[in-house]
Symmetry: C2
Subunit: 621 residues, 2 copies
């Protein structure tokens, strides 16, 4: 790591992920990684999905002060439906009015654009709009190549999984991507003002994605560490990142993050709007909120969480809950509704919001402001009332050809998870579901990445398209760098477990490659094929630090004398020495012992003749 | 911690678990813990299940050199069916013949018994035997009290869960325990030579239990740290502990562990038998194995893993697997069968093994020697062939009134987990299932406590009675003390998630108490109610270390200015100020906004009149 020179005052981690090689596939140079295996394996490199951007490419020049290259610049402009306009002037309140400056002395992003893009009057620049017109965009082509991974290598793939009605193709074509987006079953969140992003799809017929939350709060954190966390999160596999900053420097923090992010960035605009009114929810107005949407749209935010489903009549439904309203955005809107005793302006102005979204291609992430914050409140009236409204709003957004995903809970015991997925699919017309966990118990603060990974893996299997990570600090404090990594890797494994269970054609390739490496004591291959090679190797070295132990045909669990893996090799060798196929060997042994006393004695004799002591010498492979 | 004086040269952790108080309930003084909540909560103490033994009791005297008091001594002797016999002499080979002494200089356990107990000739001392004769033992009574926890406190419990055919009672009576044991649906593993143990039940109509594995290997570890790990594992919630030691000092290590363990101890006797023949599997004989069973039975091992289902004809079925045979015991027996080309002596001598088990009341843990070691091998022919044999052996054991549980996989993708449970219930007549994980993907070494907690929670929900923990070091090295804790807490939360989903009457009490504490900013209650109060508090303090922050009505995520929990309180206060019940409040708001413009204006007016700015002052509670 850190072997790429980066011209920056902000420190980020660069350099290849251990054991893998950055590759670029096809004319769009779709970024992926390949993991080379030991020559002794006789196996081709394994291709894996890669979210880490240029930071892991030894051939890239990283300049945090300038931002990433604009991959999509020409694609966006060549469609002829955008115009350049002067960027809205940054105002003091955009960076917060309250509290001390905790930016750590980092200046505003130096390379701010003077002009930004928006749709020409009357134009609609959403991927859904293009898709519905039958246009296959370069973004869709990029996604198709990206999602296929090593599927070409699969010769005789036998689909093994339970997909609960998903329609995962054997091979992803650009036309398939277009069709999924046109139907609203998938989205490609990519604001025309975030041309640095590498297109990715969120939908249940694609690989399950994960999101990592970062962001300042009024109490802690600073800009430099948030940029570092973003780069760190995508290194370990975050498909999108949400900047949930509150307090000071919200605008500047976001600019640094966007200009340096190859993954879509999501925000909750009401957070910033609230800062602009000094934190008093009831002082929020449509004008302030609208202005915030424009501000963030011009910066390039790819999806907005909009809590338009928190309607006035639903607020009292939360009064009997154990934990009431736990969504920040949800409670802001609930307070506003209550104070004014009026319907939410987000709900009433939803068409106007759609007009903004489609002028930049910002995807909706319809917020679950009334999600349960405890096992006790799961699947209650308030939650499902809001979900029904989100379904209604989805239809409105789709009329505008706006891309939509739906946010989901939260805290849900295992037996109530499936109902969430089923109701979401029904209420929201198969729009992608994007859930936080859910946590399957409330009693393990400090371990909520795990309580929630259980729920996340399950709901991912059932059809959720993106899983919002939870870190070990959930409910207790702001995650630091280490927490971000643990959260990302935990969610990556949960998403992968879901892909496996859904029967995703490419998923099992990696499990099988790693298991073969494990069986054959190719320790380095085992580390390199894992989601976190550094930790795997470090754990191994804690008990067997010697360099030789990495090539040894044993491990610290059983030691060199006895090893079950070795014995299995003997079973195979025995079969091979009989000069039989495994099938024939198996056949020969099929009769139950009582029938084959004579045959057994003969086999035993053969074993002794040909093998004797069959332990393979450690260097024998 | 460490505030109890312990006379010992081995260091173990003693003292109360933070925030909880040891209590002893009823005439049998059943050990539990109670967590006292802040007086402001107005809530009674929460009673929780406790595996930690006298080590967390400030009134207990801990003497590792002498061992624990013999809780069950009189119960066992008063039944009049045991006799005292001289203990089998310890032989040099019992402590291993090979490799250097890695005991760390710890002497043999100083307080070794001269005589041990066994059933009088013709007698059967198993709990199943008593149960089938209609006898309710003190052990069953102990279990009944222990399992009930706070169920008495539940006034109007509405069962909420999906139990897949389990028969969880609202209240556990001693007669219920007896009946479950008589039917073979539950076991109480408690060797008559381990009178130190606190009785506990493993069965799908009881709380889901977890096991922690510890033990020396030939490469690393020492006796002192294994005793420490045992005490540490039960502190965090291990219901049973398996001593999987190999290499040197196996006999002495086990003696130290047993004499100091209040939880049942399990072993895999073939491991020690293998050491006795110098690690050469084909040199194993029935006599050596039988002698090892007696040796361990006399020491007090509570359950034995016996891989009697690894039959000769099944061995070739593993030749085509990606990871072959990964069970140590399974591969030992496979090698033996292959070398001799004979049926397994464990299978052929199963009746004789039963005779030994019932003379001491050792429970069978019928080993899954052919469990899958990778996603690729899950649910294959070899695995299910063995399972069918385990079912056959269960019936034989039950004829002897021997207690039985069945071990299960392993590595299984989510969509294949349920089939494991269903087949086990059918093949093994509802004998308790005891699974390792299963791991739901192979690609995350270093995080396999999590890949497996996903599978463990699910299979626990489906009906598995005990979950064998997996630590972060799985596949990479031997777990240290920290790994043991992470493994135990992870499995405790998975087991609890399973209890919740099954609808166990007492499970949700703890989630609800913690969630109420969270909502009301009772930080200390939130820490104390969690599975790991130390980590929860430490994480909180990383961002807000000041003492005042533990009583503050905010947290570091949102800061003091804005808090969604506070807003919910305002919703409630608003309802209360209307002098209405929540229901009436809800009713008043039910009409959709368009119908009630006038009513809304009125409500809004009331809100302003009675509340104005409703933020509660931080000290206001």
């Amino acid at each position: 790591m850190a072997d790429i020179n980066a011209r920056t005052e902000l420190k980020v981690t660069t350099g290849p992920i251990r054991g893998s090689r950055k590759i670029h596939v096809g004319e769009h140079r779709v970024a992926m990684r390949e993991i080379d295996l030991e020559p002794s394996s006789g196996e081709p490199p394994l291709r894996v999905y890669d979210c880490s951007g240029p930071y892991t490419d030894p051939n890239a020049t990283i300049d945090i002060m300038a931002g990433l290259p604009e991959l999509r610049r020409d694609w966006i402009r060549s469609r002829g439906d955008v115009e350049e306009v002067a960027q809205r002037e940054v105002r003091p309140e955009d960076n917060g009015q309250l509290g001390p400056d905790r930016s750590g002395g980092v200046q505003p992003f130096p390379n701010v654009r003077k002009t930004v893009l928006r749709a020409r009057p009357g134009a609609n620049v959403t991927q859904m709009h293009y898709a519905r017109k039958g246009i296959i965009t370069p973004e869709m082509e990029y996604v198709a190549i990206r999602e296929n991974l090593g599927r070409e290598q699969l010769r005789e793939h036998i689909r093994d999984g339970q997909d609960f009605g998903a329609a995962i193709p054997d091979y992803v074509t650009p036309e398939f991507v277009r069709d999924e987006i046109a139907r609203g079953r998938a989205i490609i969140p990519n604001n025309i003002n975030h041309p640095e992003s590498e297109p990715m799809a969120i939908g249940r017929n694609f690989l399950v994605k994960i999101n990592a939350n970062i962001g300042n709060s009024a109490v802690a954190s600073d800009v430099a560490s948030e940029v570092d966390k973003m780069v760190w999160a995508i290194r370990w596999g975050a498909d999108t990142v949400m900047d949930l900053s509150t307090g000071r420097n919200i605008h500047d923090t976001r600019e640094w993050i966007l200009r340096n992010s190859p993954v879509p960035i999501g925000t909750v605009p009401i957070y910033q709007a609230l800062e602009k009114v000094g934190g008093i929810a009831e002082d929020l107005t449509w004008d302030i909120f609208r202005d915030t949407l424009i501000e963030q749209a011009e910066q390039g935010v790819d999806y907005f969480t909009i809590h338009a489903g928190v309607r006035l009549p639903y607020v009292p439904m939360t009064a009997k809950r154990v934990t009431g309203i736990v969504s920040r955005g949800g409670s802001i809107m609930a307070k506003w509704c209550l104070a004014h005793h009026k319907e939410s302006f987000l709900y009433e102005r939803f068409d106007e919001i759609c007009e903004i979204m489609k002028a930049y291609d910002i995807a909706f992430s319809l917020g679950d402001g009334l999600r349960p914050g405890s096992i006790a409140d799961a699947n209650d009236e308030a939650q499902f009332a809001e979900l029904a409204t989100l379904g209604e709003l989805t239809q409105i957004a789709w009329k505008h050809d706006c891309q939509v995903m739906i946010e989901g809970p939260g805290h849900v015991p295992m037996h109530k998870i499936k109902a969430n997925m089923d109701k979401q699919l029904e209420a929201c017309g198969e729009a992608p579901f994007y859930t936080l966990g859910p946590l399957t118990t409330d009693i393990a603060p400090g371990y909520d990445h795990i309580t929630s990974a259980i729920g996340a893996a399950m709901i991912g299997w059932f059809g959720t398209a993106m899983l919002c990570y939870v870190t070990p600090k959930e409910h207790l404090g702001l995650p630091d760098r280490d927490d971000v990594k643990v959260g990302v890797v935990t969610y990556k494994l949960a998403a992968h477990a879901a892909d496996l269970a859904k029967g995703h054609p490419a998923a099992k390739l990696r499990d099988d490659a790693l298991s073969r490496a494990r069986f054959e004591f190719r320790w380095r291959d085992q580390f390199n094929l894992s989601l976190d090679p550094d930790t795997a190797e470090q754990y191994h070295d804690q008990t067997l630090p010697a360099e030789g132990a990495k090539t040894a045909h044993f491990c610290s669990m059983c030691g060199p004398k006895f090893c079950s893996m070795k014995i299995t090799q003997e079973v195979r060798d025995f079969a091979a020495k009989q000069n039989q196929s495994a099938d024939a060997f198996l056949e020969a042994d099929k009769p139950v012992p009582s029938d084959v006393e004579a045959g057994m004695a003969e086999m035993s004799e053969k074993f002794r003749e040909k093998g004797g002591e069959l332990y393979l010498p450690a260097a024998g492979k």
